[in-house]
């Protein structure tokens, strides 16, 4: 076995995660509340936060805005590939680490594919302001899956050779069945998951369109889960599409209807990316990276996040034309009757 420092868990250990469920109220009850109430109730300083979506697909952007307004200290962020949700948290730390700080990232990728790099990542990493633990996408997805399955670890054929496995808590053993090396990944049990989905009922049964990403696994692995949804549906409607339910109510603690909750990222069937808005945030961030002048980035946050009460205030500032444009672009992808 690879010579590793002593094993540690971020978030809950497998045995703690099991214990947390034993006494939890699992009843099918109304879990709707405001996003502010959900963030106040379920997220705490020092938490390991599991973040849903994939790059700029269906990321829980509205929840990250609320988290930034609230302010948190020393969070660990766990995700496979992150885009705007991580950007907002990272930029908030750049602006005022006394109000909002990330202690540690467990990640596979933080950037935006066609929309470029995340300058926040370079800023925080190159100044050594956050602990890094690199994994691959399959690694992080499998770690959440192990958590969701109630297993302490899961084997993988992923990057067993190379430096990724040396950057993290992967353990390599000889497979007791084949005698070939195999990598084992420790489960990830976040304290809280933040997830955006297409639809949910008030109990937390969730429907996802397009990529499932790793949202169900993150929800089921976490001690608590905050779900925002494009659309709140009746329980009867949701259960009439039983094969579409990706996350059962058991894995959800708070349900909030937040249309455009992944904007300026995309949400299948509802809206496509707003690349101009993403580029604007990146431009302002890059400016701070280069000059340490935070004015433009601060102005963005003052206008769009601190200057509004909730995500509907943000959408007001975006305006109807932009929202309709994003909706129209996505309609072309899906070719469906609304």
């Amino acid at each position: 076995m690879k010579d590793t420092p002593e094993m540690f868990w971020t978030g809950l250990s497998p045995d703690e995660a099991r214990k947390a469920l034993v006494n939890k109220d699992k009843s099918m009850r109304d879990k709707t509340m405001s996003l502010k109430e959900a963030v106040d109730t379920f997220i705490h300083d020092g938490d390991n936060v599991g973040i849903g979506g994939f790059v700029d697909i269906r990321q829980p952007v509205a929840t990250t805005h609320e988290m930034v307004r609230h302010g948190f200290k020393d969070l660990t962020l766990s995700f496979q590939s992150g885009g705007m949700a991580i950007d907002y948290l990272g930029a908030a730390m750049m602006l005022n680490p006394d109000h909002f700080s990330i202690k540690r990232l467990e990640l596979a990728y933080w950037a935006h594919e066609a929309f470029g790099l995340a300058p926040m990542f370079r800023y925080l990493a190159e100044r050594s302001l956050i602990e890094l633990e690199d994994w691959s996408n399959a690694n992080m997805s499998a770690r959440f899956k192990a958590g969701a399955m109630g297993l302490p670890f899961i084997p993988t054929r992923g990057p067993i050779a190379g430096d990724v496995a040396k950057s993290n808590r992967t353990k390599i053993i000889d497979c007791p069945f084949t005698n070939r090396p195999i990598a084992l990944l420790p489960a990830c049990h976040p304290d809280v998951a933040i997830i955006h989905v297409n639809a949910a009922d008030k109990y937390g049964n969730c429907i996802v369109r397009g990529s499932d990403c790793t949202c169900a696994e993150i929800s089921m692995a976490s001690a608590h889960t905050i779900v925002t949804c494009e659309q709140l549906l009746s329980h009867e409607t949701i259960t009439s599409l039983p094969k579409d339910i990706a996350i059962p109510f058991l894995g959800v603690d708070a349900v909030i209807e937040v249309p455009y909750g992944a904007y300026p990222g995309a949400c299948r069937r509802s809206y496509y990316y707003s690349k101009e808005h993403i580029a604007d945030l990146h431009r302002r961030t890059s400016l701070m990276c280069k000059t340490e002048n935070k004015d433009e980035l601060q102005a963005y946050f003052d206008e769009y996040i601190f200057g509004v009460d909730d995500f509907s205030g943000f959408l007001e500032k975006i305006g109807v034309a932009e929202l309709l444009k994003a909706k129209k672009l996505e309609a072309a992808n899906c070719e469906r009757l609304v």
Partner: protein, 264 residues
């Protein structure tokens, strides 16, 4: 077909990448130029190519256009399977991906890739000189697809004798059965396409070997821009420049708004 006189370095990479792909095979497509090349292959010689994307789409026809992300809504319309990251990677571990098509910021002579950091690993891992985005799914594709096709812009610092960080395993140290002994599946890097030519990896040594030069390049010009000693195929040939039709397809049909293919 008329040869184009007006193609860019990205465009010849795309054309070369498309030509490596066989029809009716499964290709696990990484983000960026691999997406453009796969679409070009589908629109030319490989209409029944089966693209797989790591966010979970299997086999879409991509008729609604070029995705900007491997999780893009456009990858899901008409797909035969619509799950998430775990399902895509599990299928790949199982052996369902004939090809993996990935990029990187730095490559060594054995086709190992770096997309994590520039700096000193492990000592400087927590304070990189330049922090890159990270593996994403590239290291998973590199570990588990049957064959991988690598795309790396040619540059002496990027074709490096020693990677600053090994993100995506290729032929490792090139020794016999190195991948197998490490516990991986798949035969590893199959082709590398740079801005200067097309390479394979010699069977015994697993070292990068020049197969074809792009227009304007010679063995010598390419070696001069490579940070390690290249091997050369017995018969290094010239890669035909893109045709006007191929360039038109890229510019007008596939990426008209310049999502991945820059005009300059």
């Amino acid at each position: 077909m008329t040869v184009s006189k007006d193609y860019t370095a990205q465009e010849i990479i795309i054309v070369a990448g498309a030509k490596v792909l066989e029809d009716k095979k499964v290709v696990f497509v990484g983000t960026g130029l691999p997406m453009v090349a796969s679409l070009l292959a589908k629109m030319t010689h490989a209409p029944s190519l089966i693209p797989v994307f790591e966010a979970g789409a299997v086999g879409p026809d991509l008729a609604v256009g070029l995705p900007v992300s491997v999780g893009d809504s456009k990858t899901f319309t008409s797909a035969s399977f619509v799950k998430g990251l775990n399902s895509a990677f599990e299928m790949t571990q199982r052996g369902f991906a004939d090809y993996g098509f990935i990029g990187g910021a730095e490559v060594d002579m054995y086709g190992n890739l770096n997309s994590t950091m520039i700096g000193d690993f492990p000592d400087g891992y927590q304070k990189p000189k330049i922090r890159l985005p990270g593996s994403g799914g590239a290291s998973d594709m590199a570990a588990s697809c049957e064959k991988t096709i690598l795309i790396v812009p040619h540059d002496k610092r990027k074709f490096s004798a020693k990677l600053q960080y090994l993100t995506s395993p290729g032929h490792l140290d090139g020794s016999k059965d190195a991948r197998w002994k490490a516990g991986m599946q798949g035969s590893g890097p199959y082709r590398l396409i740079s801005t200067k030519g097309i390479f394979d990896f010699e069977e015994e040594s697993h070292r990068m070997r020049l197969l074809q030069t792009f227009p304007g390049e010679t063995k010598e010009s390419i070696q001069a821009e490579t940070g390690f000693e290249l091997l050369f195929a017995d018969n290094v040939t010239a890669f035909a420049p893109p045709t006007e039709e191929e360039v038109r397809l890229i510019r007008e049909e596939i990426d008209p708004t310049g999502i991945f293919v820059k005009r300059a």
